[in-house]
Amino acid sequence: MAAVQDGPMELDAEKEAKPEILSDGTSNLSGNTASGTLSSSPLTAAPAGGAPKMEDQQTLIAVLQFLKRNKLSESVEILRREAGLGEHQEGSQATDGSGGGKGDGDGGDANSLLSRVSITSAAAPQSMPVKSDCIINIFRCDLPFMFMLSEDQPDVSVVLSAYSQQGDPPLYQVYYSGLKNFIESVLDCHRAELSQLFYPLFVHMYLELVYNNHETEAKAFFDKFSGDQECYYQDDLHILCGLTKKEHLKGNEVLLDFRTSRFVLHISRDSYQLLKRHLQERHNNQIWNIIQEHLYIDIFDGMPRSKSQIDSMSGSLAGEAKREVNKAKVFYGLLKEPEIEVPLDDEDDEAENEEGKPKKKKTKKDSLGSKSKKQDPNAPQQNRIPLPELKDSDKLDKIMYMKESTKRIRLGPENLPSICFYTFLNAFQGLTAVDFTDDSSLLAGGFADSTVRVWSVTPKKLRKVKSAGELNVIEKESDDVLERIMDEKTASESKILHGHSGPVYGVSFSPDRNYLLSSSEDGTVRLWSLQTFTCLVGYKGHNYPVWDTHFSPFGYYFVSGGHDRVARLWATDHYQPLRIFAGHLADVTCTRFHPNSNYVATGSTDRTVRLWDVLNANCVRILTGHKGPIHSLAFSPNGKFLASGSTDGRVLLWDIGHGLMIGELKGHTDTIYALKFSRDGEILASGSMDNTVRLWDSMKAFDEVETDDFTATTGHIHLPDNSQELLLGMYHSKSTPVTHLHFTRRNLLLAAGAYNSQ
C-alpha cells in the first residue's frame, strides 16, 4: 500500500541528525498492507535549489502529480527527465520539506524553513493523491521520553512538521463527513470498529488545520464534529478546543503526547478491508495519509468486536495497547518464602523462654507448608532480581507476621472487615499522602506544607537514637543495647520531618520500618531514618514533581514516578536510578511494586497502566480502558491480579498473566485514591474522594472470568456488568476523603484521610 521511496542521501543525513530515531524505524515496501506497522521513511532534506528556485519546482511537482493522478505515466517520465527532477525529490516535496530544517540541526533555520515550506505548500495544495507516499514515521512510541525531556525547539518543530502535508483546508470537512457517512452506512458489526477511527482522525485533522494557520476552518471543523466524539474524550476535546493558534501547539504537552505515539486501534481484518477499499475507491488520500502516519492499526482475524467491548478497552491517550506488547511472559508468581527454619531454631535455643514453644510450632508448620508447596511455575527465578539478605530483625518480623497470620480473620462476603478510620484533624496544611507500616504500628502523612509527619498508632512512643556522644558511653555488650540506645527524652507520639521544599505527594515505609520515603513537588525523593528521624538521602533525578514513590516489598529497591513521564527504579544505596521506565505519554501518577519485586506497575495521566520488568526496564504490559488519570494501584496478594482506580470513579481489575481486563467496578462518584486487597485477597477495598470506602467481592470477580485460549489470544473480553453484585458494602466517612487504605495482618481495615470542614 504504502510505496516508499527511500532517498539514500537524505536517509544518511537523517541518520546523522537523529540516528536513534531512524534506527528504530523499519521500512516496509508497498503492498505490505496487512501489517499495521507501516513504514518508516526518511525525512527529506531541503531541496537542492535555493529559495527562489523552489517555487518553480513546486509548480513542476504539482504538474507531475496531476499527471500521475490521471495515470499519464509516460508524460510523467518525460516531464521528469526534462525538468531533471529525481523521484525522491518529488516525494519529498509531496510530503513536506520540514526535514530540511533538521538537516541543519539549527532550530532557527528549521523554523523559518518550516514556515516557508508550509506556506508554499498551502499555496499549491495537493488535493490529488500521490502514488508514492512518503510516510513519515518520526517517532516510535518506545522512545518518546527523549522528546519529553528535551525541550529543544527543533524536535518540537519536527513533530509538528508532520502536519505540513495537507489538502485543501475547506475540504477537510468533506473528507471527514465522507468517512463518517461511510462508516455510518456499513454493517453494524463493522460500524463499531470503524468508529474508533473518528477520534484520532478528528484530532489529527484539527491539529493539521491549526498548524497550517487555518484558524477559521479549524474552528468550524471542531464545531461540526466534536460532538460526535465519545464522551470519555471530553477532557481532551476541552484542551483541543482552546488550541487555535500554531504558536500554541509548540510546548503543548497533550499535543506532543498525541504526536509522539501512534494511536493504536484494534480492527478486525474484515473491517479493515472494508475501510481500505472505501478509501481507495474515493481516492481519499488525506484520510489515508493520516491513518498511515499517525495510526497504528492492529489487525486481527476473527469476529469484529462489539461496541461495548471496544468501549471497555479504549479511552487512553494513545488508543489501545498493541497486542504484541502484552505478549511478553510475565512471571507473576510469588517468590518462595525464605527458609527461616534453621536460624529460627537457633534463636529458640538461645532464648528458651515462654515463646519458644509456639515459635517452634509455627516454623514447623511453615516449613512443612513450603515443602509441600512446589515452586510456583509462574514465579520468577529466586535470584532474577537480586534481593537483600534477610537480617535477623527481618526474620523476627517474619515470625511475628506468621503469628499474626494465624489470628487472621478469614474475610468473605459474609464476613466483612471492621473499619478503623484514622482521621487527620487540623490538617490545615493539606494532607497529600498517607502510608501505614505493614504491621500497622506507624502512620506517616505527607503534607502540602512540605512536611512529613510520623505517628505511632500503638502506645509505643517514637524515640530517637541517642547522640553519638551518649552512644559512646553505652555498654555495647549488654542484652538490651537496642533499648539503651534510644533516647527516652525524645519519646513522643509523633515526629515531624522537615526537608522538602514542596508538597509531599507520596510516602512509603520500608518493610523493616527503619526507613521512610517521601516524594515531593521539589523533584526529589527523600529517604528518612526512623531511628534518628533525620533525612539520609535526597534522590535527585526527576527534576519535576515526583507524584509517587513505593518501596519494594523486600526493601532496598524503590520506584518513583513523576511529571517527567518516567518512572525510575532506585536502590537506597545508589544516588542515581538503576532503571528508567520510559514510555508513558503523560505524568506517571502512581507507582507500585509487584509482590515478587520483579515488576513495577505505573499508572499515568495518559490513562494507561503499564507493567515494567525491573530486570531490563522493558514495558511488558500496557493496560488500557481507564477514561481518566489513574491515581491508585494495588496488586493482589498472590501477584496474579492488579486493580487500578482512576478519576472516573471506576476500579478496573486486570489479569496480569494474560494482560486482560477482567472486571470493572463502578460505583464511586469521584477519584479513587486508595485501593487495597485484603491479606488473603478475598476483598478489595477502595477509598475515594467521594468520602466513601467500598468493599468489593474480588474473589467472585476473579472467579467469574473465564480466560480461555481464544480470549487470551485475541484479547477480547466480554465483561459482565455486575458491579452491584460485587459491591459488598459502602461506608461513608464524615466529610473525610479517603486517602489511604491498609489491611492489618489480621485483616482489620484501616483507612485514613483528612477531615475536610468545608
Partner: protein
Amino acid sequence: SSSQSGMTEREERRFAEVPRESIKLMAESSGVELSEEVAALLAEDVCYRLREATQNSSQFMRHAKRRKLSVEDLNRALRWSNTETICGYGAQDALPFRPLKEGELFFVEDREINLVELALATNIPKGCAETMVRVHVSYLDGKGNLEPQGTVPTAVQSLSEDLLKYYQQITRAILGEDPHLMKVALLDLQSNSKIAALLPYFVYVISGVKSVSHDLDQLNRLLHMVKSLVQNPYLYLGSYVRSLVSSVMYCILEPLAASINPLNDHWTLRDYAALLLSHIFWTHGDLVSGLYHQILLSLQKVLSDPVRPLCSHYGAVVGLHALGWKAVERVLYPHLPAYWANLQAVLDDYSVSNAQVKADGHKVYGAILVAVERLLKMKALSLTLAAEGSGAGLPGTTTGAVGFRENSPGLSPPPEPLSEPPLGIASHLQAGGAGCPWEEWTPVSLPAMYCELYSFFGDSLAVRFSTGPPLGGATPPGPCQPLEGRKEPASSAPNLENTRKMPQLTASMNISPRRDGSPRSPLSSSSRPGRSTSQSRDIFPKARFPLPQAGPPAFSFIIGGRQMGRRCQGRRFQTSFTPTPPLTTHPPRAYAHKLPVIGRVSKPVRRWTCSHYSLHLPL
C-alpha cells in the same frame, strides 16, 4: 475580525474570555497604546495561556487530593512553566469579587488593613491547633452492617432527632431551677427504657462535676442524675460504672470549691455521695473488676494523706463506712492510731484561727465514731452468727442482698443500700490484686478492737454499746431495745443472749443523760431523746479534749445539714447519730420514725435517704 467575534461568542459558552477591551485597558494602565488587532490577538493568547495554566494547575490539585483549585496550585503551574507567580492571593478565604455598576467594572475588593490596630489588638488569634490523628472504629457484623447502637458508643452513630431532644430536655430540667420539673425528669430517667444510646452523653454530663465544684446545688443535681441512671433497670452501665464512680468519688473526696465557705453544707453532699457510691457498688460493682479495690485504695490514699483537708478525710471515712464494716475494719481501723494523732492536734488547738478547722475536725471525729461503732456492732453480730449457725451461713447477708435486689429496679430507692453482706466484701477482698496493703491484714479480736477504740473514744463509744463485763466497760449493759428484739427472729438466733455476752447494740438513751455532765445542752436535746448528740458533745471534753467553756464566735453545727449560728455562747459541736440497725432486712421506715433524728425535728426523714446515720441530703 467578524469571524473573530463570532468565535468569541461561541467560545463564551465554553470558557471565560478576556475581552479585547480589558486587554486595552490593562495596556493603557501601563502606558501602552494597543491597536484593535493587537489587542484581539493578545486577548486570545491570554485566554489560551490562562486555560493552559489552569489545566496544569489542576494536576497539582488532584495530587493534593483536593476538589478545590487553590491559588497555590496555579502558582505552582506558573512556576514550572517559568512564569512569574502571582503574589498576594494566598488567603484561604474567598475574595469578594464586586461589580461597580457605573463603570461596568469588576474588581476584587481589597480593603486596607490597619496594621497598628491589628498589632495592638487584644484578641490575639490563637495558633493553629496541632495536627493530630483520631480514630473511629466502625464495627461491622457479618453482613456488613454497623453494629447496633448502644453497644459501641464510640462508633459512628447519629442520635435520632427525638433522642437528642429528650437529652436536651432532661438535662435542662435536671440542671434547671424548677424543682418539680427536676423530679419529673429524674423519675423518667430512672424508668425510661429507650435511652441506652444517650447513656454516654449523660455520663459525660455527670463527669462535669469537676467544673461545678463551686455549686453545691448543681453537684446535688448531678448526683441525683447518677442515682436515677443507676436505678434505671433498662440501662446496662457497663464500663461507664467506672466513670460514674469517679464522678461520685470526686464529690466525696475532693476539697470542693464550695467547701471554702463554711456556710455551704458540703457535708451532706459527701454523705449522700457516699451513700450513692455504696449503692453503685452493691448494684453494679460486678461490672468492673477490681472496682472495690480501686475505691478502697483511693479512699485509703486520701485518708493517709495528712496534707488533704479535713473535709476530704471526712469523705474518706464516710465512704469507707458506706462500703461496709469490713472496709472500715480493714482500712480505717488499722489506720486510726496514726490518724488520731493528727486529728487530736487539730481538735486540741483552740486558737481563733483554727476555729473552722477544728469544727471540721469534729465532723471527722463524729464520722469515725459512727463508722467504728458499726464496725464493732457488725463484728459482734458476725461472730454471734458464726458461732451459732454452722451451716446456715449468714442468713442476714443473703436476705439483705436479696431484698435489695428486689427493690433496686423499682422507682423507690433501695431501702437499705448499705446492707452489707460480709461475704460479698470478703470475696471481693480475696479477689483483689496482690500487694494491697490490707492483704496481710490479720483480724483483730473483738475485745482487743474494742479496747483500742475505747482508748480513743472513751465513753462516747461505750455509751453506744452495752458491753459485757469482760470488756470492763464503764457502761452497764443497756436494756434490750426493740431493735434488738427485732433482730433476733430475723437472724433466727433466739438464743443469742444466752450464748453470748458479747457487746451488743443498744441505743441507750437512758444512759446518755447520766454521762452528760456538760452544762451545755443542745437546743434540741431536751425535747428529744437525742442521746447521740449529747454524748458526742460530752465525750470530747471528758474523755479526751477539754472543750473550752466560752470561746468567742460560736457556731453550732448540726450534721443534719442545717448549720446555724445561734447564741454566741461558745463553740458547740453536735453530731446526730442514729444507731445502726443490726439487720438489713428491716424496712427503714420501721425504725425511722421511732428513732430520733437530731437536727431534723420538723421534717420527716425521707425514706430513701435514711441511713445508719442521719447525714443525709436535705432535698
